[in-house]
Amino acid sequence: MHPSLSVIFFTTASGAGYGLLALLGVLAPFGMVPADPLFGLVALVLALGAITAGLVSSLFHLGQRQRAWRAFSQWRSSWLSREGVAAVATYLPAGLFGIGWVFLGTVSKAAGLLAALGAVATVFCTSMIYRSLKPVPRWHNRWVVPNYLALGLMSGLLWLVLVLQIFGARPLPAATVPAAIALAAVLKLGYWRFIDAAPATSTAGSATGLGSFGTVRLLEAPHTSENYLLKEMGFSIARKHAAKLRRIAMVLGFGLPFMLSFVPFVASGWPAIAAALLAAILGTVGVFVERWLFFAEARHAVTLYYGRSEV
């Protein structure tokens, strides 16, 4: 699948934003992050800023942006529509939560938990868009939803740790951050293991129905240059680059933030802030690379008509 930058930026930024929003919505009402209105302002602006930037970026993927509002109508059948509804609906409790916290000095448990629920629901809907697509077996499997949720939570948590460090606040319970990173890394490695080993769901033989006559090979394509189908669905990445990019994503996105998450145990003040900043940036870049690979490594069934033997 063509790795469209607008969609990759959207899922990365809004994933981190919703992760942060969910954590704030759950932790703040229980006093696990500072009740300081300034902390609330900075953390919520970061969360809602990332979410909004992501959502705006997703509009650039559309051919007719001015009609985007129509996408809220088909929530009964479409995960993309549900995602849109959940994304917009989440702004309401998130906004009330923020107004209460920042301007009225009250951290609302109901608004916080509803905002967290909306955040998780939105990321869940995003992941289900991919999970539900049967023609892309590398998306249509049980690893995709846990990956989106865990990676969103991990990147949100890395940004929360940074804000906590900047405010010199009491850190989260010791093992929380490394554990969240380890969980996300295990799920990502599990996903890669799965897609590398999964048997083909469709072949050129089943796509043409000619498999019973022997091996099906493309003799002549229908057109001489690339068309929409090949540009959008026929993107292929060299195996050696995929392997290298997986290592880069693993080291940048998970390995280094994991190690940096132990810095607060041995140092505080500026070194801890610097470590948290570096971890948040690296983690987000790592997720970006991982998300690029999620698209680039996905194979669409239509490529079976254009010479691929199996997907």
Binding site: S206, F213, L218
Partner: protein, 248 residues
């Protein structure tokens, strides 16, 4: 509404494509383009049509495959277009209601005035039936020529999709595949027509007919290796005498 029509749709209009007969002339693709660039989905935009890498929207594409090895190998021409599935995920994933499946005849269509060009329907189609029009910013697809098949200004025999009307080899058939007694349904039953990628669970309406088994012992035409005399050799009369004289 992108939820699928409830209840069994009795009428399921679609195509039957005979892979035994198709000669790969691309006339169906060309006439499809010709008709539909002036039809309900018009225009089927071409980008750089005279450039080095022409690109454009087509509803019908003809692939050519080699199948099997050596003497058992064969060349199969394979027209590919929308299959108007009974379970079209391209419809249910649509967030705006632009994609829909008609309850009355099962045809899958796009309302271009509602389409936001998110391309998700093209991702959901394993058959590559939908092509995005960069110029119009909306998705386009085969309409089964709804502007021909119901067109009362046409003679009844012309009320078929453009691809069917133009096929010089009669490799394409149009009809109601929901009616077991229709000519197309009987053809499918007789020739053991099949679904493409049945494992996807989309239940395509269009069916493909397999190449017929090759006749044994007679080469590709099944004609005998030597020509037999059309009439017994004459032994008497004037021609017999001439034959004997000339044979000496």
């Amino acid at each position: 509404m992108t939820s699928l029509p409830a209840g069994p749709s009795r009428k399921r209009l679609g195509l039957v494509i005979d892979l035994d007969i198709c000669v790969g002339c691309h006339a169906c693709a060309v006439n499809c383009k010709e008709w539909n660039t002036g039809g309900v989905a018009a225009p089927l935009t071409d980008l750089a049509p005279y450039g080095a890498d022409p690109d454009g929207v087509w509803f019908n594409r003809v692939h050519t495959y080699e199948v099997g090895e050596g003497p058992a190998g064969r060349t199969v021409h394979f027209p590919r277009s929308c299959l108007h599935c009974a379970e079209p995920a391209c419809v249910t994933v649509c967030p705006t209601g632009a994609s829909f499946k008609r309850a009355e005849d099962g045809i899958v269509l796009v309302d271009e005035d509602l389409c936001i060009g998110c391309k998700l329907c093209s991702w959901a189609c394993p058959y590559g039936a939908r092509e995005f029009d960069e110029d119009a910013g909306v998705m386009k697809k085969c309409t089964l020529c709804i502007d021909r098949i119901y067109n009362e200004t046409f003679d009844p025999e012309d009320r078929v999709p453009a691809c069917v009307a133009t096929c010089p080899a009669s490799a394409r058939h149009f009809g109601d595949l929901g009616d077991p007694d229709s000519a197309v349904s009987k053809l499918v039953a007789e020739r053991e027509g099949f679904d493409l990628m049945a494992e996807m669970g989309y239940a395509p309406t269009n069916k493909y007919l397999p190449p017929r088994p090759r006749r044994q012992g007679g080469g590709c035409t099944s004609a005998p290796a030597r020509l037999a005399p059309a009439a017994p050799v004459t032994t008497g009369g004037l021609l017999g005498w001439l034959d004997r004289l000339l044979s000496q």
